[in-house]
Symmetry: C2
Subunit: 305 residues, 2 copies
C-alpha cells in the first residue's frame, strides 16, 4: 500500500458523516430538503497539474474548472467559490487574479472568500459550493447490466500536455489541456437519469475502474467506442489513459439511451456508449470485438484521493 | 500598496455576492431561511503559521482550530470540514492524520472531503462549514458609543511562540500557541447580543483596527484593561500585538454588559471590556488614563486577507 493510500485510509475513518460518502466520491453531498448542498475542494500544483510555462490566466481557469467539474458530476449548479492562494511573483499573481475574474464571470458565480498566504511553493486550492434540486448521483450506484457512457471526446487534453512538453504547436489540443470546460448543464440534466456519475480527471480507464469498484461490480470497455476528436493524434488506449478530460462518465439503464441521445442533441454535446457493467470486479478491455491486455498505467494514480 | 493588497483588491471586485461580505469578514455567510450557512477557508504554512518542530498532531489541531475560530466569530455551529493536504514525509503525514482525528472528535465534527496532492512544500488548507439559527454578526456593525470587548486572555500564544523560538520551557504558553481553543460556544451565545464580532488571529490591535475600519469608525483601547493570564511574561502592548490568540473580539451596546458578564459566568469564560468605538477613524491607545504612542507593528499584516 502506498504512503498516500495509508494516509487516505486513516482519513476515511474520520469521514463518519453520510455527506462524506466515505471519501470515494468527487464531492461531499449534504442533503437539504428535496435537494442537496454539494461541496468540493481540489488543489493544483505547478509541475503536477499545470506546467510552469502555462499562462497564469489559464491556471486560474483550470483551478475553477476542475472544481466545477466535480459539481457537474453531482448534477449541481455552482453557487460560489473560496480561494486558497499562495502569493509569489507579483505579475503572475495579478494575471492569475484577472484570469480568475474571467472564469468566474464565464460561469456566472462569485468569489465568496478564502485565504492568501506566503509560501515557498505555489499550491493553489479552491472550494466550490453548489446546489441540486433533487438527489445527487454518487459514483457507487452502477449495477451489472447498466451501460457505461461518456460525454464529449476523450484524449485531447492529454495530447495537449504531451504537445506542450515536446514543444509542439497544437493549439486545439493545448486549449483543451489548459482551459477545460466543466459539463455543468449536462451534469444537471443527466443527474435524474443516471445510476452513477463522476468526472474523468485522471484517465478514462482508471476513473471507470473506480466507478466499478465503488459500485462493487466489474466494467468492460470497448476501446473502439471511446469518442475521439478529429484533432486527437494517438491510439484509443492513449486517449483512454491520458487524463485531464473533465468529461462526464456515467452508468445508465439500457432503456434510458434514447433520452440521453436526445439530451445530447438538445444541448449540443455528444454522449457515447463505451461499455457495460458486469457482475464481478475489475476492468476488461476489447477492441473490435477482441480482448485487449490492460496497459501498465490506467491513468494518474497519485494526484488526488 | 503592497503586492498582497493589490492582489486582494483585484479579488474584491470578484466578490460580487452579498455572502462574500466584500471579503472583509472572517467567513462567507449565505443566508438560508432564518439562519445562515457559514463557510471559511484558511491555510497554514510551515515557518509562517507553525514551526518546523511543532508536533504534526498539533499542526492538525491548529489547522482545524483556526478555521473553527472563524465560524465561532460568526456564531456558527460547525457541520464539517474539507481538507487540502500536501503529502510529504510519511511518518509526519500519519501523525497529522491522527491529530486531525483527535481534533475532529474533540469538536464533534466529520471530515467531509478534500484533496491530497504531491507538492514540494507543505501548504495545508481547510474549509470549514457551519450553520447559524439567526443572523451572523459581521465585523462591520460597530457604531460610535459601542464598547469593545474581548474573551479570555490575550498574549499567551504569542509568548509561547517566542518561548519556542528561544528554546525556553514554558508549557502553559506553548500549549496556547500550538493548540488554540476556538470559542464556539461563546460565539454562538454572543451572536444575538453583539453589534460586530471577529476573532483575534493577527494581534488584538490590528484586528481591532480592522473592525473599526470595516465599521467606518475609530476605536480607543485601554491597554491596562487588556486581559492577561498569570503565565503571561510581557507588557500589555506585547500582549496586544502578539497574535495567535483565537479569542473573540466584539462590539457591544453599553446596556448589554450585564448580559455578557452573566454569560461569561455561565460558560466559565471571562469577557473583558477593553475600549470603545468613537466617531472618526483609526486606533488610539491609553494606559492608566494616559495617551500611548502606537507601536510600529500592530500585529501580523501579511498572513491573510
Amino acid at each position: 500500500m502506498s504512503s498516500e493510500s495509508a494516509f487516505i485510509d486513516t482519513l476515511r475513518a474520520l469521514a463518519t458523516h453520510p455527506a462524506a460518502r466515505d471519501l470515494i466520491d468527487d464531492a461531499a453531498v449534504l442533503e437539504m430538503g428535496e435537494g442537496a448542498l454539494v461541496l468540493t475542494h481540489d488543489m493544483i500544483v505547478e509541475g503536477v497539474h499545470y506546467l510552469p510555462g502555462d499562462p497564469p490566466e489559464d491556471v486560474a481557469w483550470k483551478l475553477v474548472a476542475v472544481n466545477l467539474s466535480d459539481l457537474a458530476a453531482k448534477g449541481a449548479r455552482p453557487i460560489g467559490v473560496l480561494l486558497g492562494f499562495t502569493l509569489g511573483d507579483e505579475a503572475w499573481d495579478q494575471a492569475f487574479a484577472a484570469g480568475l475574474g474571467t472564469a468566474l464571470t464565464a460561469f456566472g458565480i462569485p468569489l465568496l472568500g478564502g485565504d492568501t498566504v506566503s509560501a515557498p511553493t505555489r499550491v493553489l486550492g479552491l472550494t466550490a459550493l453548489g446546489r441540486t434540486d433533487g438527489p445527487a448521483p454518487s459514483r457507487a450506484g452502477a449495477t451489472p447490466g447498466d451501460l457505461l457512457w461518456v460525454s464529449g471526446a476523450i484524449g485531447d487534453a492529454g495530447a495537449g500536455l504531451k504537445a506542450l512538453q515536446a514543444g509542439e504547436d497544437a493549439p486545439a489540443l493545448i486549449e483543451r489541456y489548459r482551459t477545460p470546460r466543466p459539463r455543468l448543464e449536462a451534469g444537471e440534466r443527466l443527474a435524474p437519469l443516471v445510476r452513477a456519475m463522476m468526472d474523468v480527471s485522471d484517465g478514462l480507464l482508471i476513473d471507470a475502474s473506480r466507478m466499478a469498484a465503488a459500485s462493487q461490480c466489474g466494467v468492460e470497455i470497448e476501446l473502439d467506442a471511446v469518442p475521439r476528436s478529429p484533432h486527437f493524434p494517438g491510439t484509443a488506449i492513449e486517449a483512454a489513459t491520458a487524463g485531464d478530460d473533465y468529461e462526464l462518465l456515467f452508468a445508465l439503464r439500457p432503456d434510458d439511451a434514447a433520452a440521453v441521445l436526445a439530451l445530447g442533441d438538445e444541448i449540443g454535446l455528444p454522449f457515447s456508449r463505451i461499455g457495460r457493467f458486469v457482475a464481478g470486479a475489475g476492468l476488461t478491455l476489447t477492441e473490435d470485438g477482441a480482448s485487449v491486455t490492460l496497459p501498465d498505467s490506467l491513468g494518474y494514480e497519485h494526484r488526488r484521493p
